[in-house]
Symmetry: C2
Subunit: 343 residues, 2 copies
DNA sequence: CTGAAAGCGCTTACAG
DNA sequence: CTGAAAGCGCTTACAG
């Protein structure tokens, strides 16, 4: 069952009665080829089921036709619990790559890893897409060195002034504001926030501040006593909600920085005898598929992963092609379900 | 911000005062290098931040050090709704690749696409991992041609006698049996099955037969009148459950061929006024993360995706290295939650 | 243990 | 429009 010996462009050239260079021209879609010649070559290609060797081609052109997706979550011991939100992004990024004729290399990284240069230096990929939550301050230095090395990359995340490289992100502040207005509009007054609210996690921080802005418009505010740190996982949400309850500070709503946190929080609240949404209204962020099936179904903020993925790929490709690119903020929209107690 | 001109092994050779061939030997870990020489080279590599050019290396060795994961689901118009079960597999496959020093190319495919040869012929990947449900009979022909071309591949799916290529799968029959024993043990007598139960979908069919075997041990059986076709999606599960109810055949349990189907079915049942599990017990298959959060939490069959991913990668690598490989069936285990009405 | 040299399979100026 | 030739950056027999 040995593979047939490899078909090269020379075999095609011979069969079509042309030079190898002409075969290459046909396959690159060069316009400098006679129509008849082209046809003969294409036929030979089909007959011998020839495929251009990507390595030879890339070695010559110094372009790999491949993008690398680096997915990182800091404390992820377990394979299978990657944040579903990023998985959705992965799906749309893969498709966007395919649409643009590029391949996608996928890799999971620890934030602590030394991932920042490998892919482009070894020519494995023409550029990097960075995805994942993590301590922004801890990896800002890595972004700086990527920029310094001239590596092409785009990042999903908060769009910050003076930030290294380019980012595509959702309007976290507006998303937070929508949640704040919604909960306050339903009469909630003491809204707890589960998730980091500091410049270490700019996305979460923006969501927090957006919510706070909405409250302030009504003469209310987010209480620091009602904020509990949490990374984006169900377990962290559960623990954060328990810490919150242990503080004995009254609250009538929870805004979780992500859906995973919200789902964990609802579990803790319910276990402790609180009714959601009657006693405590809950809202999340991301609109992961699970949100619809949570009990009660989770009110959350939708981010258009399909568009985000396409934009990430297109921006990266533009950057690689030396076309102008800029960071972009995508809209966020509120999805009202039962957990917030509306209707 | 132009990239520094590329560092090659010649630059390293010059700096270390050796030939380029020696540099290459050091980087390939060849034992035929003097310790002192090796040190000098390694230092130069570090100083210039040199990385071996993968294309040049692959062109020379005819090995790419890359595996391709082809994920297909037949009717998947929407990016973001890839079956979570496969996403878990993706996670563990990615990690297994990394452990073995290989890169992973990911691609979503329609079953109808002409994917079967591209990756290996163009040298993009040394082998293929095929993942996805779909009409087995429709793509068995493609497996045959992969074998014929000598392409290296492994497939996640049912392990069937006389099957082309090698497969890693879970013990679907045993999983189905566990569900059948569980439901019958709880006094359920008329168990509906949602999902294809034919050789077009061998995994589903095995689950069906396993359940039937358990019932027969108790003098019961699966009724053809209670079987409804469904692909693995929430929507399909919802529709299938509605068709089932429209038949007006009595049933007291539903065994869904996948968790997604089960979740859709529970929605349809609840909407129609049935209580789960009091009126109708429900069980699924896969144990996707969502299963825990369904309402009620879903009884299901767990498959070890972590081990499955590792085994897929290792089998493929063994095959590429001409080491002996064989198809393997992994164990399945029952996870009892509220939806089946136990306890 | 080390070096000189061939060659992997392409793409792309350069001539014509 | 087409061909002959150089060269991308490695790895690996072949000599020594």
């Amino acid at each position: 069952m040995a593979r047939k010996s490899k078909v090269t462009s020379l075999d095609i050239a011979e069969r079509a009665g042309v030079s190898q260079a002409t075969v290459s021209r046909v396959l690159c879609g060069s316009p400098l080829v006679n129509v008849e010649t082209r046809k003969r070559v294409e036929e030979a290609v089909r007959e011998l089921n020839y495929k251009v060797d990507r390595h030879a081609s890339s070695l010559r052109t110094q372009r790999s036709g491949t993008l690398a997706l680096l997915l990182f979550e800091d404390p992820t011991p377990d394979d299978s619990h990657i944040n579903p939100f990023f998985l959705s992004m992965l799906g749309s990024i893969t498709r966007a790559c395919a649409r643009h004729g590029h391949d996608l290399l996928v890799s999971f990284q620890q934030l602590s890893d030394d991932w920042h240069a490998d892919y482009e230096d070894s020519m494995k990929a023409d550029g990097l897409i960075l995805l994942g939550y993590g301590d922004y301050l801890a990896y800002r230095g890595k972004l700086d060195s990527l920029v310094e090395q001239g590596t092409h990359f785009v990042r999903w995340g908060a769009v910050l002034p003076g930030q290294p490289g380019i980012s595509i992100g959702c309007d976290n502040h507006h998303g937070g504001r929508l949640v704040g207005e919604h909960l306050a509009g339903l009469g909630r007054r003491r809204i707890a926030f589960l998730g980091d609210a500091s410049s270490h996690y700019p996305e979460f921080f923006d969501r927090y501040r957006g919510c706070d802005a909405a409250l302030q418009a009504q003469g209310l505010r987010m209480e620091p006593a009602l904020q509990v740190d949490a990374v984006s996982s169900e377990e962290a949400g559960y623990e954060a909600a328990r810490s919150l309850m242990a503080r004995q500070e009254p609250f009538d709503a929870v805004f979780a920085a992500s859906d995973l946190i919200a789902i964990g929080a609802m579990r803790a609240l319910t276990e402790a005898g609180h009714r959601v949404p009657e006693d405590i209204a809950v809202a999340g962020f991301d609109d992961i598929p699970m949100a619809r099936f949570a009990q009660p179904a989770l009110t959350t903020v939708y981010q258009d992963t399909s568009r985000a993925g396409a934009l990430l790929v297109e921006s990266l490709l533009a950057q690689i092609g030396n076309r102008p690119v800029q960071s972009t903020t995508l809209p966020a929209s509120l999805v009202v379900r039962r957990s917030s107690g509306a209707g």
